[in-house]
Symmetry: D2
Subunit: 472 residues, 4 copies
């Protein structure tokens, strides 16, 4: 056992996995050139390169768990420099281990399997994604009441040596280019829903697994997509068509009382990562706004300055929430340091809810050329290159192509396919605004707030005794 | 002279015009198949078909001017059914005639030229666009102080029989597929800036004109772009490289005192059309939100209902603003009916400022499958078609492909290339939020509001006399 | 029978009514001097003066019903000039008549009683208020499940000649100084709740009626409260302690199927009136903002201008909503012209939801002297009068006392007792934001929006047939 | 020298100070009973009691300066328990010392005077307020161009032993009941404005000082004002009518280059204190919202839960900003620990800007009884006490008076005189939203954000070299 190199990783993808895109199957030969996969594979391969250390004992830093507040702060800083699959590997396994700790009392064998699985992943230096969101069918009905029982992933057969699962998992970023699918229940299951209470580890190439992919990757004119040509990942719609899972990889098989443990453990880490990402995006958007205002010569205009200041305050508050989530972290019984649920969710909600307004500011500052700046290819044209350079230029030091590229970056990040992906995922990652309000409310110290309010109201003690706090 | 047919229109495009896209020239042979132009040409050709009536006296309804409030209401309703080039033809010529009326006292010959030009356009049934936004260079400096004098379009030579102009006009939708460029100054020019005070009519194929195009048209997988594959228009970056304009087509040549007249006349009609468009978009977004909530089974969830109700209120208020703009229309001296500037700008501002928040609601309601719904092609695949149909389905009556297509429509309209174009143009059309605030403020009856306020404050008369109103 | 004069009205208040304030009873002798009642009585008396015409046939314009759109527009304009009790008389009786029309088929005798009651009110020129909001107790439970059955007003005894009612009605503005309490159920009653399905007319001085009053009227330093010293009305907490109502005045006594008819009829008129009030307040707030900015010398500061422009847009949009509600009014079967529910509720929601933000703008523009401007009495002081005049003055034409009085008006309207009353009632009148969202949603043409959305999505017909519209 | 007791403090107020309210002078005999002063004096006296320690060396903790991050955190926590005058004493002297450090190089003698003054204040245990905001006159003009030169406080005479000042200082909370007025320039002065560049310490009872007071203190029915009856402070309009200040107490007399030093030093501490206050208020408002929802039985209603969750997120984010301001504090050259300007201003801006929206939520949740709940005196009435108790009660455990008192607390805090004071001061303290945006922008690391943005845009190096960063 040893860490994988870039070459190891690239070779590992030719493992019989079945990937689809735009209605056709993408085989191993096409994988490295197909615009929906090529760049994402390159990113993950770069990650292997970057982290590789020789020796049988070596393992990636994404397999360690912070146990102090400074470590937690450092992990979060590192994570922003990792590719998305490395991030999900770290978060997913961390969540699995958290779940192991919580189910050990009731399910010691399952907990042991998780720990062995974790060690196996580390030793083989694989990349994992969390396969959590089910198809869900009619949201008004629970899994067992859907007219098609497969709309939530379920156990269709129990054998002595393992289980057979059927169903689909949606919105699974990077599934197609990773190794392991960590399957978890999407929500709490109730008694009678034992077949849907299933968690397990499934290799991407297991028989019966098919992944239908979508992508915001640019398919041509890559120069005009400076951000998404670098950062894209395929989104997987994973089908489990009666996939066999050996017992050793089954982490939950019918114990409904533990069914929500996995998702809860994952949620916090996902939202923390999402908040860190929003904080970074906030800074970048401020930078883009300031650069384009300077390039346009509007950086001293009063309403432009006001909008940039609002963007500064936005980015700063998301950072503050992150900071407070770390400063108020608390250790789990295992000694792992968990960020504050309250601050994490409050910051994530604010960052997500106000994101579209910050985009509006950036668009208001930039102007219509966000959409209509000539292509980088136009700047290379013998016929029109000199014209677009001449007319996109604004002043000494602001070259026409420089300014056009700023507009392309803004369009790519906020007003094109990747921009749309950002708009939706900033909202939906970690469960939508509603879920974040719910969790923030749950972790707020409401009893303290009620005591403060009663004191402020100078409520006579005999009236408080009769009412108020008894209902908290 | 007679109205043009579809065939006449298609033939008219092979007139030597010079169009560029992605760095290469697009000649007449490629024009009808290039994805950046093909569909937009089809839309305009359909418009010719739809309006065609035989006879030398026939002319399109887009060449008539409303003179009563009911006519104005009807024109606005019709306009929503026209292709964009027909809309700009109507608005642009209306604006030109308005300008003619306003400059007639000082420049009778120029006013006459405009009327003759209008008749010529009507008789030849051509399509026109307004070429207004200049390159602008450094926004801190006026046209005459830019280090490159061409950053605002200007007269570089005056000859006995005409003028020669140089410069660029940006963000000119549909320029490449229309016939006439109605050039106007982008802003008020001051004494000393006579060379930049130029308005004229230039054929798209005039020697020296080049148009560099960008587009949000889908380039492949058209089935996944149900809206933008139908509705797209190229955006033109028009270069005037020493273009000669004969006197008969010169509408302003140095009279700086009239330089803002053209843009002001155009602004009102543009913002009115923009508001009508926002009102229609508002209704469509409500419909999409309700359909996807029903398809997901979340239409009875409290927070979903609240968000849809907010979207209903948004759409209704934009309609209300439009309604009030028409009800409060006032006739010009020529007897043309002009919508209320105050209500038009207030409604446009509200609709544009809150647009991104409505998109956020739609994304919050729809969920992540807005981005990750399988391609329509996946539904046709023998390998995965049945799976994606099975798992995208939610209940009886909600077919998987039906639901996927709803997600594609939402993504296309709000979270992909066309969605980004919408986000920016809803803000920027008619001049950005700042401009709309400015114009709304200008047309508000501030003296009346101050009188009401002083009365409400019971301000003693002798104190009012000393202060207050004298400054209004 | 004839219209009442001021003297008639003042005399009519000494009718044995039992009024309370601050824990003590206010008898007829104190009524005209008590600061909680004196000014409100003066306002109503002024209304009698203003409308009085001699002759047995004369009746007030507040007893007529608009039957055309221009009449509706005119009524609304008039209404803004009436005192609040005259407004509620008009709205309450209009609602009663509307209810009469709707219940006539099932309850012809009750409908006749309402019409006779209406004529009696007109002939006696009395003033009426709607007594609608019950105490409500635990909002989780219906009337019949409350542990105290009186928490919703109910019939405690049915006699041959009438009924006896018990309960309380809350937030009844002006009850103490009017003549008639028009009692209606606060919500829909269900079978089994016949005792709570009661509507009737009760004289303010009926035995068993007591009214506990609160008020935002200033109690001293009236000069510093230029608005609330003129405009205040007592809020009544009305107790019905086994009050007998003769059959002739009973409009509903147990017919639960008609129990919501009264409240619905009232809601529309209340919200229309509320919207008209918000539109007027919007203009006044713009005027105050502009006047104080001019007085401070900040009217040309960029961010101040922006905020005033936002206030202009707010006021204009509320006016637009009102305008559209009238333009889209529809006649009832009786030929009465009803404003559009959709536009009325959308405008009311917007006006109410954004009101507090407009107050924020006004406070941001005005500055701290809104709170700390010296009292008008300080300007009269020999010791400090000249100092406060000197230092509150800002420039020629802006007298110190003038500016202080502007600050007092702003404080009184937005940042003192009356300001607080405004903040809460703008939100709560007509039922809170939630209720307005509900009603707007209900009256929106959702089927049309869904059709537009399906067309925009180019949904194939066979898929639409299978899903979509069938659920609308 | 020793710390003062309550008795010492009360005796110290009879020192000849000249106080005015509502146009009349309030002498020492009336001071302790006048509702505008009595309670605020009691609060300050309580503070003396609480902090008193015997011995010549004892001094209050409000005279110490945090030098580590934990100390800073502790100071901030303590500060929330102090009366407002103790807070301003601490903040004002801290700011003075900060200014001393910054001017020492240029003005060593003035810096020494400040340190001696600080020691004198500590030894005499006096209470100080910062007198900073000038009358300002026409905001378009600088001090030296006003038509009345006294509109900014200025030196009218320079004598060998001191200076004579004239002018007014506005919005000076608690001035009337403290001992020392620390006068500072309200803004930066320019060369030629030497007479307005004045800072000094003036005793409240100095000849020529007059203070005109306003107040939101309740004047009667104190039971209905449970918060403001406890927490009120008079706001002072201080007139300096040729007041002599001996040299020893003059801290700046004409050195315009140092004129802004004092205000800047004060601003940070004021905004930090304001943010801490907002965080506490946020928690209290959540508590009130939850308590009233429980008392109404609406705590499980979906839209109520959503609004409370939004309030939770608001309060949490303000706390997060405060937390980040402390965690990122930096030491001054003197070793004093200063909170982060960036985080302090971002948090203050957010807290202030969203405050009115949180009030809206609280009003939406509470309902109309916020305004119309019967007076506490009504509950004591033999005639109506039992009725209001019966009908304000909602369920077992929710007594009618308990619920009424909750409504009174909400009204007092948010919808009456004190509520209005809160609305305005939350916005205006520390300089208005505009000022906080400005300062946040100034302290944001814009160069880093621009570098991140250029990297994200993959800007080719040769284009960056030509543009971008050179303008940062």
């Amino acid at each position: 056992m040893a860490m994988k190199t870039r070459a190891d990783y690239l070779a590992s993808l030719a493992d019989g996995r079945r990937l689809f895109a735009d209605g056709v199957e993408v085989g191993p030969d096409d994988l490295f050139t197909n615009p929906q996969f090529a760049q994402s594979i390159r990113l993950v391969a770069d990650g292997y390169d970057k982290h590789y250390r020789p020796g049988a004992e070596a393992s990636g830093p994404y397999f360690t768990i912070p146990t102090t507040i400074p470590e937690l702060r450092e992990t979060l800083a590192d994570l922003l420099g990792w590719d998305m699959v490395t991030v999900t590997t770290s978060q997913g396994l961390l969540a699995l281990l958290t779940a192991a700790a919580r189910i050990r009392a009731g399910l010691p064998e399952h907990a042991d399997r998780i720990e062995r699985y974790f060690r196996w992943c580390r030793e083989n230096d694989v990349r994992c994604v969390q396969a959590i969101t089910d198809a869900k069918g009619n949201r008004k009905l629970p899994p067992s009441k859907q007219d098609d029982p497969d709309l939530y992933t379920r156990i269709v057969e129990r054998r002595p040596d393992g289980i057979v699962i059927r169903g689909a998992k949606l919105h699974i970023s990077s599934a197609a280019i990773s190794h392991e699918l960590v399957v978890m229940p999407t929500k709490n299951m109730k008694p009678g829903e034992e077949d849907w209470a299933v968690a397990c580890g499934v290799p991407v190439n297991a028989p019966g697994v098919r992944i239908v992919n979508t992508s915001y990757a640019p398919r041509d004119r890559e120069d005009d997509f400076p951000i998404s040509r670098e950062h894209n990942m395929p989104e997987g719609f994973i089908v489990f068509d009666d996939v066999f899972v050996p017992n050793e990889r089954v982490f939950l098989d019918g114990q409904t009382e533990h069914s929500a443990t996995f998702a809860h453990a994952l949620g916090l880490w996902e939202r923390l990562g999402g908040t860190a990402h929003l904080a970074e995006q906030g800074d970048i958007m401020v930078g883009l706004a300031q650069l384009i205002a300077e390039a346009n010569g509007t950086d001293t205009v009063s309403h432009v300055r006001e909008k940039i200041a609002e963007m500064v305050i936005y980015a700063t508050l998301v950072h503050a929430g992150l900071e407070a989530a770390i400063t108020n972290a608390e250790p789990s019984p295992e000694g792992w340091m968990f960020p504050s649920e309250l601050y994490t969710n409050a910051a994530k909600h604010y960052g997500a809810a106000e994101y579209s307004r910050m985009i509006r500011h950036l668009h208001d500052i930039g102007g219509g050329a966000i959409l209509t700046a000539p292509s980088v290819a136009d700047f290379r044209s013998a016929e029109v290159g000199s014209y677009v350079a001449k007319y996109m230029r604004t002043m000494d030091g602001v070259d026409g192509e420089y300014r056009a590229r700023l507009f392309h970056a803004i369009r790519d990040l906020t007003a094109d396919a990747y921009g749309g992906w950002n708009l939706v995922t900033m909202l939906q990652s970690g469960g939508g605004l509603y879920a974040q309000r719910l969790v923030a409310r749950k972790h707020f110290d409401m009893d303290r707030a009620k005591r403060l309010a009663l004191a402020e109201a100078r409520m006579p003690a005999h009236l408080v005794a009769a009412g108020g706090e008894s209902r908290s």
